[in-house]
C-alpha cells in the first residue's frame, strides 16, 4: 500500500497551472526522489502535502485514508514533516526555542525553559547530532541550521519526512553524512521524500524517482533502472548537453586584483579574512565554496553594495577599493548579482526600464534630462532578440518573466555594454536548463574574446564546467587554488570542508 497517494492533484494560480493532475505514489519505508527542472512544480506539490497550499482540484490519501490538509498543523498531525530549502527558523531565537516553536512546554502561562532545554538535549543525543540547544540560530553555521530543521520534525514524531533541495548548502562530505542519516532514518521505518535537481544524489540514495516536467508527472521509475542521463532527458524532454565546449584558454594580462581584502562587522566577526586573488584577461576564475563562507560578502564588496574594512581592489592598475556600484559600472565592469530580484531587477517595472537601469545615467538613452523613448524601446527590442528572451508582451513588466528569462534580462543589460570584466554570482540559480546552457555559452564567449570573468557559484558542476582556475572559500578566506582541468570533485570537496591536507585525512580515516 502506498503511504502517500494523490489522485489528479491540481494547483492553479489564476491562469497559471503549477501542478496538473498529479498522481503521486510513494511506498512506505522508501526514499523517494522527486526531480524536475527549476520551476517544474516540485515545491508546489510538496507544499500541498504540507498544508501550505490548498489544491485546486484532486485528492490526497495518506495511509489509504482520504485527507484534507489545510495547514501545517494538519500535516504534522498526519505524520508529515517538511524541511524547506529556505530554512524557516527565527534568527534571534535559540535552537531549543526554534525546535519547540508552536509546541512550547509550559507551567501554567509561563514557559518552562529549563524543561524545554532538557527535552531538546535528549532529542539531540538520540539522533547523534552535535549541537548546543542554547545557541542562537543567527550565530550557527548553515549545516547546523539544517539539522535543527530536521530535529524540528523528528520531535513531532513524523513518519514521513519531506526534504526540499537539502544538499544545496552542504559540502560533498556533509552531503555524504546527510545521506547516511537519511538511510538510518529509513531503517528506523520513516518514509523519506527528497526534492532535488541533483541527479547524482538521486542515484546514490533513492529507491524510486518521480520525474515532473512543466507541472505534470512524466514518469515514475525505480532508481536502479535508470542512469543520470536518462533522468536528465526525462526532466527536460530532449537530450541535454551537460557540459559546454571550451577551447584552450588564452590567458592575457592581469586585469583585476584583490589584495588582503577583509570585512569585520559590528559584532567583530571577520566575514572576509585577507582575501587575495587576481583575474587575468581571457580566463574565467571560479570561486567555489559552500554558501555562507564569505562569498556573498565578497561579491557585495566587489560590486559596491558593502564596504570593506581593510584591503585593496585594483582594476586596470587603478585603485577602486570601496567604489560604489555606479562607479564600478562606469569602469566597464558588468555585474550579475546573486539575488536577481533584490539587486538585479525590479519586478514592477517594464522590461525596457530594467534594461536601462544601472546605465540610465549614460547618454545611451538620450540625455539624463530628456530620455529618448524611441532609443529605450529600440534597445529593448534589440536585446530581446540577441539574447533570446522569451516574453509574453515586450511592453510588459519583468515580473511576468520566468526565472531564466529574467536572468537573461540582467545578462543582456550588462553584456550589451561591452564590459572587460564580468562579476557573476550564482548566475544560473533557479534557471531552466535551456537558459543555463545559453548563459554558460555567453560567459565562455566573453572569455574567448579576451575579457575576464569572475564567477561565484555553490553549484560545483557549474564551477568545474566554466572555470579555468578555481579558488575555494572557507570561513571567509581563500583556502586553496586549483587548476580546473586537473582537479576533481573530491579535491574540491575537501577544500570546501576546510581540509587542506588530504594526506591528513587519509592517514586518520
Amino acid at each position: 500500500m502506498y503511504i502517500i497517494e494523490t489522485k489528479n492533484l491540481t494547483k492553479k494560480f489564476g491562469d497559471f497551472t503549477a501542478n496538473n493532475k498529479i498522481n503521486l505514489q510513494v511506498k512506505e519505508g522508501e526514499i523517494h526522489a522527486i526531480v524536475g527542472e527549476n520551476g517544474a512544480g516540485k515545491s508546489t506539490l510538496m507544499n500541498m502535502l504540507y498544508g501550505l497550499l490548498q489544491p485546486t482540484e484532486g485528492e490526497i490519501y495518506i495511509k489509504g485514508k482520504h485527507v484534507s490538509i489545510n495547514n501545517p498543523r494538519d500535516a504534522i498531525n498526519l505524520g508529515i514533516g517538511m524541511v524547506h530549502q529556505h530554512f524557516k527558523l527565527v534568527p534571534t531565537f535559540t535552537i531549543f526555542e526554534n525546535i519547540l516553536l508552536g509546541d512550547e512546554l509550559t507551567k501554567g502561562i509561563r514557559i518552562n525553559k529549563k524543561k524545554e532545554i532538557k527535552v531538546v538535549k535528549e532529542l539531540i543525543e538520540k539522533y547523534g547530532f552535535n549541537i548546543n540547544p542554547k545557541d542562537k540560530i543567527q550565530n550557527v553555521p548553515i549545516g547546523t541550521e539544517q539539522r535543527v530543521e530536521i530535529l524540528k520534525m523528528l520531535y513531532r514524531n513524523v513518519d514521513i519526512l519531506i526534504l526540499d533541495e537539502p544538499t544545496a548548502v552542504l559540502t560533498p562530505q556533509e552531503v555524504d553524512e546527510l545521506l547516511i542519516s537519511l538511510n538510518e532514518l529509513r531503517e528506523a521505518g520513516k518514509t523519506i521524500i527528497i526534492i532535488t535537481h541533483k541527479l547524482g544524489e538521486v542515484k546514490r540514495c533513492s529507491d524510486s524517482v518521480t520525474v515532473i516536467r512543466k507541472g505534470e508527472i512524466v514518469d515514475r521509475v525505480e532508481t536502479k533502472d535508470v542512469t543520470e542521463k536518462d533522468l536528465a532527458k526525462l526532466m527536460v524532454g530532449r537530450d541535454v548537453l551537460l557540459q559546454v565546449e571550451k577551447p584552450e584558454a588564452k590567458i592575457g594580462d592581469e586585469l583585476f586584483s584583490v589584495n588582503n581584502l577583509s570585512v569585520t562587522n559590528k559584532q567583530k566577526v571577520r566575514l572576509l579574512d585577507n582575501v587575495n586573488f587576481a583575474v587575468k584577461r581571457g580566463e574565467i576564475l571560479g570561486v567555489a565554496g559552500v554558501e555562507g563562507n564569505g562569498q556573498s560578502q565578497l561579491i557585495k564588496v566587489l560590486t559596491g553594495l558593502m564596504k570593506c574594512t581593510n584591503g585593496k581592489v585594483t582594476y586596470k592598475d587603478k585603485n577602486i577599493t570601496n567604489y560604489p556600484s555606479e562607479k564600478i559600472r562606469k569602469l566597464g565592469i558588468g555585474i550579475i548579482p546573486e539575488d536577481r530580484y533584490k539587486h538585479g531587477l525590479c519586478r514592477n517595472m517594464k522590461i525596457s526600464e530594467n534594461l536601462m537601469a544601472g546605465y540610465h545615467d549614460t547618454d545611451k538613452f538620450g540625455s539624463t534630462y530628456h530620455y529618448n523613448y524611441k532609443k529605450i524601446r529600440d534597445n529593448r527590442d534589440e536585446l530581446i532578440n540577441d539574447f533570446d528572451i522569451r516574453v509574453g508582451s515586450a511592453d510588459g513588466d519583468v515580473g511576468q518573466l520566468s526565472g531564466g528569462n529574467a536572468q537573461k534580462v540582467i545578462i543582456a543589460r550588462e553584456l550589451s555594454m561591452n564590459p572587460d570584466l564580468v562579476i557573476a554570482s550564482q548566475p544560473t540559480r533557479g534557471v531552466d536548463i535551456g537558459s543555463i546552457e545559453f548563459i554558460h555559452k555567453q560567459l565562455i564567449s566573453l572569455r574567448n574574446d579576451n575579457k575576464a570573468v569572475l564567477v561565484v557559484s555553490s553549484e560545483l558542476s557549474e564551477i568545474m564546467n566554466l572555470s579555468d582556475r578555481i579558488i575555494v572559500m572557507y570561513k571567509g578566506s581563500i583556502i586553496g587554488e586549483v587548476n580546473a582541468k586537473e582537479t576533481t570533485k573530491e579535491e574540491l570537496g575537501y577544500l570546501m570542508a576546510g581540509i587542506t591536507d588530504k594526506r591528513e585525512v587519509e592517514n586518520n580515516g
Partner: protein
Amino acid sequence: MAKINYKQISKKVFYLILPVIFAFLVGAILIVVSGHNPIEAYGAMFRGALVGKSALYNTLFSSTPIIVTGLAIAVAFKANLFNMGVEGQMYLGAFAAAYVGFTLKGLPPVLHVILCILAAVVVGGLFALIPGVLKGRFNVNEMVVTIMLNYVAILLTDYLTNFVFYSGEGYAATYPIEQSAYLPRFMKTSQLNWAFIIALIMACIVYYIFKYTRLGFEIKAIGHNVSFAEATGMNTRNKAIVIMVVSGMLAGIAGAGEVLGVHHRFIAGFSPGYGWDGMTIALLGKNNPIGILIAALFFGILKNGGSTMELMVGVPRSLISIIQGLIIFFLAVDYLNTEFGFMSRLKLMFRRKVRG
C-alpha cells in the same frame, strides 16, 4: 505607438472611483444618522461648487493649494519616502514669502513676487533637508521626524506672528505684504488668483521630471525596490535627501501661494490641513500629476461645496474629513494587485468561511 487598451483603462478608472463611491455611501449613512437627507446634502454640495461662474472659479481656487501639496507629497511617496511634514514645510515657506513680502520695499512687482517665491522654496527645502539628511545619513524614520517638525514649524510661525512681527491688528497675523508682492486675482467675484497658474505649472514640471529625467526614473525605482535601486547605482542615501528637499520646496510654494495670492500676510494657523489633503490627493491620484490635478479638482468641489452644504442643509463640514478618511481607507487596498483580483478574493473568503 502603443495600442490604447480601453478595457484595461476603464477597469483602472473604475477601481479608482470605487473608493470614492464607497466613502460617499458611508457618508450618506452618517448624514442620515445626523438627521438630514443625503441627497439634499450632496446636491447642495455639488451645486454650491459647480453651478455658476463664480462657484466654478471658487472651486478652482479651493483646489489650488492642494494641487501643490499633493505634488509635494507625490514626489516623496512615489519613492516610498513618507514626508508627513508637508504641512510644516508649507508653513515655513509661507512665512518666508510673507517676510520677503513685507520687508523688501520699492521693488517692481514681478521681481518681488519671484523673490518671495524663491524665499519660500529655499526655506521649505531647507526645512525638509533635516529629515532628509537624518534619513539619508542615519537611517532615521522620516515619518516620525517630519510629524514632530510639523508641530515645531506651526509653533514657531505662531510665535513669530504673535510676538515678533505682530501687525497689531487684533488677530494673529503679521504685517501685510507690499502691493508689489501680490499675486493678482483674475476677477472681482472670486478669490481665484495667479497661484492657480503656478500650481498648474508645477504639475507640468513634476510630470516632466517623472517621465523624462533621471531623477524621475530613480524615484520610481527607489519606490518599487530600494535594494535594486542601490545596486544599480542610484545612491539611495543621497537621493533620499534630494527627494525630501524637492518635496519641501514644493510645499514651500504651496505656502507662498496662500500668502501672496490669498491673505497677503502671514496668518497663524492659516492652513485647515492642506498638507493632509495633499496626502489624500496624492494617494487618489496614484502619485501621478494628472491624477493629482483631477483629484484636487474633486476635492476643490468637496471643500467649496462643503461650506454650502453646511450653510444650506446644516450638515457639519467635518463630514468632509470623514469622507476623506474613508476614501483613504478604501484606497489602501490595491484592488488590482491582490492575488487574483478583489472580487475573487471576496468569493474565496466567503467560500472558506462556508467550508469551515
